[in-house]
């Protein structure tokens, strides 16, 4: 059972790391977004510190969504998707593994880069740790929800932006609880654990709903 799953995971990881892959582009986009915001908001460090978690979360959301349209489209264009539908493997599991590979290639680097970018936003170590932890728990949900959008727009030529538009409403709960968990660690109007556990729950729900919905959408998009 796990032989093919591991091979699929390794294949996807290799594809996103090698030439033409999209592994590090997400982090660069994340860096660009987080750098641009102070130019708009102004270099006032106290203000930046207050909205720091929100900036990091919105940056992560956009970086994940915009990197997702190639997850299925690359395979559809060269016929691999057709063969995957015929491979006789549970499609939901195939989608879950592809999302996991995409998350490791683009989501995880975001989490690793978050503390570094938090320096630009003048966050104290506690806030830095909180944001990174919430991102670690939340970015998988963004990838899994985004996969639904990716599978819906797989047959469209320019699906990237449409995907983001479709999926942003679905990702709002993750954003809300992610940012509030990060803020709770700083100003703690509410204990850190409450929003954080809800965030983890959202990720688990996405881990089920995402693959099932994506698999269905992929089957319809085949003909």
């Amino acid at each position: 059972m796990t032989g093919w799953a591991l091979d699929l995971f390794q294949r996807d990881l290799k594809l996103s790391v090698r030439i033409g892959g999209s592994a590090l582009v997400g982090v660069l986009f994340f860096l660009a977004v987080v750098t641009v915001i102070p130019f708009g908001v102004g270099p006032d460090l106290n203000l930046l510190a207050r909205i720091g978690p929100a900036i990091l979360w919105i940056g992560a959301l956009l970086a994940t969504l915009l990197g997702l349209d190639r997850v299925f489209q690359a395979d559809r264009e060269d016929g691999t998707l057709d063969l995957m539908l015929m491979a006789g493997r549970p499609l939901e599991l195939v989608v879950l593994i592809k999302c996991l590979a995409h998350w490791v290639a683009t989501g995880l680097p975001l989490v690793i880069a978050a503390p570094l970018l938090a320096i630009f936003l003048n966050l104290e170590p506690l806030a830095m740790g909180a944001v990174t932890l919430t991102l670690l728990a939340g970015t998988p949900a963004l990838t899994l929800i985004g996969a639904i959008g990716a599978s819906l727009t797989v047959s469209l030529r320019r699906g990237g932006l449409l995907l983001a538009v479709l999926v942003v409403p679905l990702a709002i709960p993750v954003l809300i609880f992610g940012v509030s968990a990060a803020d709770a660690a700083i100003h703690d109007p509410v204990p850190f654990l409450t929003p954080f556990l809800i965030l983890c729950a959202l990720t688990l729900i996405a881990a089920v709903v995402g693959p099932v919905a994506s698999a269905m959408a992929l089957r319809f998009s085949a003909d």
């Binding site: 030439i19 033409g20 590090l24 582009v25 660009a32 750098t35 130019f39 102004g42 270099p43 003048n122």
Partner: protein, 255 residues
């Protein structure tokens, strides 16, 4: 510069083979002298004490990222205008080195800022422009990585580099303006003390050392890039060459 006459890669490689040991030797000497001077002969700053010694690597590194971008811009003109075969090799190999120097400038700037301003990062005009430059370097390196065919990637990167070069003064000006607009004048000026000869000399020697280091690394990186292109060309030929040892059972593929 005579340096560009070696258009032919093989002759260029021979030049590198000859020049490199000398350059490396000089570079090591310059670093030794520079480090010694910056730690021992240079006086402390009346205001910042010893932290001013960070300047001896921060300022050269900042100069180097500008110089490296200039080298890349010239190479880009070489690619687009003079169609020089080695120009895109030079541009591609200079990018990572430029990014590394920019990273160094940022880190040392931030570490220098901590004792003075109490935080690692201040949206000071110069630091911010260097940060924007780092993003441009990383963007260029990503562009190189996403295109399979080196010639096409070379042209695309050349256009982006030149557009970037045009924008650098604009970015510098706007960041300065943005900075003075928001920033109360309370920030201690970054360029530190008036340049006293005792401080100037170590700075110059370190700048020379950094420049030599850049050229050593740039030549070595260009050599690697030429070898990488040869490997790619040979592999393309290998794939299309009909392999003599094909299995007896199959007819000779007349590809």
């Amino acid at each position: 510069m005579a340096f560009w006459d070696y258009a032919n890669p093989t002759r260029f490689l021979r030049l590198v083979h000859v020049v490199l040991p000398w350059l490396t030797g000089l570079c090591v000497l310059a670093f030794a002298a520079g480090l010694y001077m910056s730690f021992f002969t240079a006086p402390e700053d009346y205001q910042q004490g010893d932290t001013v010694r960070i300047m001896y690597i921060h300022v050269p590194a900042a100069w180097l990222c500008m110089m490296c971008y200039t080298v890349m811009s010239i190479s880009s003109i070489g690619t687009l205008v003079w169609k020089h075969p080695l120009a895109d090799v030079s541009a591609k190999s200079a990018a990572p080195i430029g990014a590394a120097f920019t990273f160094m400038a940022l880190v040392t700037g931030s570490l220098w800022g901590k004792p003075m301003w109490g935080t690692y990062w201040v949206w000071d005009a110069r630091l911010t422009s260097v940060l924007v430059l780092l993003i441009m370097y990383l963007g260029l390196m990503t562009l190189w990585r996403t295109m399979e065919d080196p010639i096409k990637a070379g042209k695309a990167a050349a256009v982006l580099t030149l557009v970037g070069a045009l924008n650098l003064p604009i970015i510098k000006f706007s960041v300065d303006w943005w900075n003075t607009l928001h920033q109360p004048a309370s920030v201690v000026r970054m360029d530190g003390p008036t340049i006293h000869p005792d401080i100037l000399w170590p700075l110059l020697v370190m700048a020379i050392a950094f420049t030599l280091l850049f050229f050593v690394l740039h030549l070595m990186a260009m050599r690697n890039e030429i070898l990488r292109r040869r490997v790619r060309a040979l592999r393309l030929r290998a794939a299309s060459a009909s392999h003599p040892g094909a299995a007896a059972a199959t007819a000779q593929p007349a590809e």
